[in-house]
Symmetry: C2
Subunit: 150 residues, 2 copies
DNA sequence: ATACTTGCAAATGATTTGCACTTGC
DNA sequence: GCAAGTGCAAATCATTTGCAAGTAT
């Protein structure tokens, strides 16, 4: 699914004056592997530690901050107070949404941008120039609905 | 704009086995007064303290938690990591959205639900039963756009 | 050399909790 | 009267930061 490579990320970092250190590479490689999950910094840290045990949590945070600044990842604050990070697979006009199941806690991602029309309406009616958005739905996922019936 | 009264809130609390103490009343009255702002717990605390100086921040948090559990308020986590609370003016089918200006930080509220169609699409395509949602747009508000031109 | 990075530990900031005291019904 | 509620201070949890040491070019 992901068409981003480590090399893309290396060149983006270098363009901005950052190095792709082993720690950053390990962190990015977790994000590439798990690009359909929505990992918190802590979860990323635990996964990275398996490959590079000497890494510190602060480094993971710093890496994620840089990646987010460069728009290589996207940071979303969830209701539980944790921030989760997604690789920006489709750079540029990216936008995606989340389906958060209140029963099993799973977070599903939707790639399409369903809000084009809504954004146009906002700009016309409120004179507000939209740059980005976050949309999260809470509800019951398919699987949990089935479990309820059993 | 708000059609909720203290009495509505009192009866809701009592139905759920809670009392409307002076501290809770003071907190709710701030929310009623400022129902178009999006106040953080800290901001609410400061305002409440002016009328009831002996109140503690923990009580404000506990009150907001109860109100949110009873769906009398709605808690939204913003990008800055703070949670803000809105009174649920139109109980039941409530839904509203936020416009967050990245320049002046102001948070505007839109009452309409622009997502009816989007929700139907989600339910059909993903089998996900939507119960609630949060939608926040980041961008530049009208006023800041004008200031830029000057 | 020099500027960028790191790991660690300590600091921060929002929220939560334990507890002895108080209060509303 | 007594469970429910309070204020305070201490605890917690995610995240950030200071700093001395490490590293790449």
């Amino acid at each position: 699914m992901s068409n981003l490579t480590i090399e893309d990320i290396r060149s983006n970092l270098q363009k901005a004056g950052y190095k792709l250190t082993p720690q950053r590479e390990a962190t990015v490689s977790i994000l590439l592997d798990r690009d359909d999950e929505h990992l918190s910094a802590e979860e990323i840290y635990i996964l990275v530690k398996q490959k590079a045990p000497e890494i510190g949590l602060a480094t993971v945070y710093r890496t994620l901050e840089i990646l987010t600044d460069l728009h290589l990842t996207h940071k979303v604050v969830f209701e539980d107070g944790l921030s989760r990070y997604d690789l920006q697979k489709n750079r540029g006009h990216h936008f995606h949404h989340h389906l958060e199941c209140v029963e099993c806690g799973k977070i599903e991602e939707i790639e399409e941008d369903l809000l084009d029309e809504v954004e146009q309406e906002i700009e016309q009616r409120f004179g507000f120039l939209v740059q980005d958005h976050q949309l999260t739905f809470q509800g019951i996922c398919k699987k949990c609905q089935q479990n309820r019936k059993e």
